[in-house]
Symmetry: D2
Subunit: 106 residues, 4 copies
Amino acid sequence: MEFGEIIKELRYFVAEREWQQFHSPENLAKSISIEAAELLELFQWGDPNDDSEVSDELADVLTYCLLLADRYGLEPTEIIQNKLAKTRSKYPIEKARGRSDKYDRL
Amino acid sequence: MEFGEIIKELRYFVAEREWQQFHSPENLAKSISIEAAELLELFQWGDPNDDSEVSDELADVLTYCLLLADRYGLEPTEIIQNKLAKTRSKYPIEKARGRSDKYDRL
Amino acid sequence: MEFGEIIKELRYFVAEREWQQFHSPENLAKSISIEAAELLELFQWGDPNDDSEVSDELADVLTYCLLLADRYGLEPTEIIQNKLAKTRSKYPIEKARGRSDKYDRL
Amino acid sequence: MEFGEIIKELRYFVAEREWQQFHSPENLAKSISIEAAELLELFQWGDPNDDSEVSDELADVLTYCLLLADRYGLEPTEIIQNKLAKTRSKYPIEKARGRSDKYDRL
């Protein structure tokens, strides 16, 4: 499914419950962090007991990300590509290959 | 752009730099939390100075989410829909309308 | 140094810069998450390059924790002990020994 | 209570349950982020329903912070003071007074 279609489903879901009033950009940003930590919790002491839990927690992070993108009129795959272009210059292949160092340490 | 296309670009970007070795599911989960907090930082003391910064930080969160989904063979829009079905039952419209309470307080 | 003394230094530091206006409980809670992620970032791809960076990032998390505790009139060591009492009942030694499972899986 | 005393209680609590094996610095860093997000969750859609919940969640963040400090042989009030000295230079009163901007924007 295209992101344009899933966002319509999400908008409808939110509107049915009159939840837009709670979805300020700040509340959505907080929600992304909160859900990201619930995903991280599956890895707190080692690998997850159950890989299927990863699916649901990751879905929650993605859901709030798409709602925030929509709030700002941003298209997810487009902003990913724009950022990727910047990351390519910060991490040129010849310098970055096989290294996990941050760009200012290359 | 469809998810299937953007993930190919991301896989190629990672492979060119021989970064797959660092992309354990746990490291990707940590990265999602780390980037989520950089996004949240734009809202630390109030609204962002510059809305364009939201685009880049949100792109970082989405990028790691797509890489983690790919690692587990999950399709993002599919897992969002699966989770949405569960959320619909937890938050029936008649009970949840206009309320921000968690499902166990409805 | 006792926590009661360090909090006086922190209050003075904040007051000198007229920063109390930004320190709503919500902004302090966001700040704790933001700094926690900067600490986590040192472990993003493996162990930290430099252990001394852990000291500064951990200090940032602790600083915001103490400011939030102070905002609510809470004494840090006291609330830790109160929570520890609850955790003792959730994780009785005979059941929890050597296990990382959450209490509802013991 | 001094830090030195509460950390003894925490060490004993951990040792009784043979949990030191799970407390690598990385796992403790993850735990701090996870608990910080549970604290933030109280502020997800507005102010907390119940201020007493802040006490328990904040205690969890502080607990893991003290365990990580102990793991590195760091004294919490000391590292806070060291970092405060650095922050004083980054945010001189005459420039920083009444402003929430980051130091590179002063």
